[in-house]
Symmetry: C2
Subunit: 343 residues, 2 copies
Amino acid sequence: MRITALAGGIGGARFLKGVLAARPNDAVTVIGNTGDDIWIHGLRVCPDLDTVMYTLGGGISIERGWGREGETFTVKEELAEYGVEPTWFGLGDKDIATHLVRTQSMQAGFPLSDITAALCERWKPGVRLIPMTDDRAETNVIVDDPSGALDDAGRPLQIAIHFQEWWIKYRAQIPARGFVLVGVDQARPAPGVIEAIEQADIVLLPPSNPVVSIGTILQVPGVADALRSTTAPVVGVSPIVGGAPVRGMADACLTAIGVETTALAVAAHYGARLPRSASAGGNESTEIGGGFIDGWLVDESDSASVAAIEALGIRCRAVPLLMSDLDATKAMVSEAMSLAGMP
Amino acid sequence: MRITALAGGIGGARFLKGVLAARPNDAVTVIGNTGDDIWIHGLRVCPDLDTVMYTLGGGISIERGWGREGETFTVKEELAEYGVEPTWFGLGDKDIATHLVRTQSMQAGFPLSDITAALCERWKPGVRLIPMTDDRAETNVIVDDPSGALDDAGRPLQIAIHFQEWWIKYRAQIPARGFVLVGVDQARPAPGVIEAIEQADIVLLPPSNPVVSIGTILQVPGVADALRSTTAPVVGVSPIVGGAPVRGMADACLTAIGVETTALAVAAHYGARLPRSASAGGNESTEIGGGFIDGWLVDESDSASVAAIEALGIRCRAVPLLMSDLDATKAMVSEAMSLAGMP
């Protein structure tokens, strides 16, 4: 069976471990978020791709969930001695080798998708990992200038900062006024992205951040349309349990785009699948969100929302959604497959 | 007093420690060799500049003489796991921070001389360290193809390899057929280089490699002429003691350019100063070597060559030349100053 998943970082990667454990004989393609990618000290860093690669390849720090096991931070400390900014990004020594290979390959002209495939030759993650795009599409966050500066009208000056600055430096503790995926209008899906959705037997949305992970991938031109038109069922796993994100800061992101932090609201945001005939006329919407969810798993604690989600036209089931260990994650994957009527 | 020195790596740096110790109140400018500089894994590495900076700034590995004290090699090991070449260059983790700062600054458009000054703000080497040039001038070594390939005439195919490949990978154990400083004809001296020679009270040539360190600096257009025309005495310290290099592989380099490995031959190669009136007519030679040495220190064991060197028109003295400790090096510096009639 061909399984395609859209994935962000830590949550997505952990879910994918469950996919591989539950479906050892299936071919899994992962479309990774690259909106978080950033140049740090001249190195190209792809946090979500690397988290998936390291997690599935056995190199991830179990404790942190990102970066390498047994990591050291010698280079980071030395950079701080030079007084160069930024100092808030966790650039580990082992990790830097990955970024050096990637950066040099990019400077030699290779596309990120080829470079990712080359890096995966070492890590053997057991999935085909494809970046959502080889082009620049960078998540920026609109915030009130943290310096307190005001605009001409005396209101807080709004500035755009890189997602990582908001997420890591400010720990998402300053309100996001909005997100802008800079460059996405010119971005094309990386080779294989659209085919992986069109030719899948099932598409899974792991419990990744619906705004800055899955939502970013959905903005790449063609991806949302492919989800709307694929014959594969699309089944999502709620990242929201009991009105709060299981981990990460999805609530701050959802608030910024006017979506409630509930399993129901996120399902409604993605939207129930429209009849496929309605979207097959070449008059496809380029709007993101809406129109492609067939099934949605919510946590047991959210069982009260099952009926409301089904009323949207989405098949829904309440099951344990905490990825506390591999068996629990495997069970979630099996529930997602079963919800789609898959063997 | 204004002291200017031309310097390579380890030997030059150790001598400069002696200069600072012997002349604590003098202003010292160091013109550093950049012919050895290399791109490794996308990082710009300047081995000689860094050796001078780390040595004088207290960060050098005492045991190795290059790289940082307490260095680790995590990134290097990880790069090897990815199977990327080259694997023979000793890229340490602490050292990488320096290269990252340099590389990013170069990519931002700053000249190497400005970047070197910025790096020295951390290290405070106590000298003004200037690269010989901000332009590309890369030492390549002509060797018989190590693969054993032959040319059309059945002779060993000659290829050019980067100096570091010859020096480190092959440990100078394959014969050098010649050296080519690629790009030097288009290179200009970095800002301050010519002035440092012209305005010096004395110019010192440490016991650095006369071919691939000092010899490289001399090839930068204008440098040899400045040495010929400066009113400052130029005093060199023989890197050859008893017919062999004190350290390094200068013999292999000298052989390649047809110069004997003796203190006398190196002095003759640099050449006794010509009468300044002969070179002041604007009709200056662009030949390197020859014509600018006023004084030359040889080791006690080479005292038999003093007369022959003096016969060349070079003031010469035989003194202990082993930089076994700081006091010994200080004494060498004092002898060099004294040989030039300096207080």
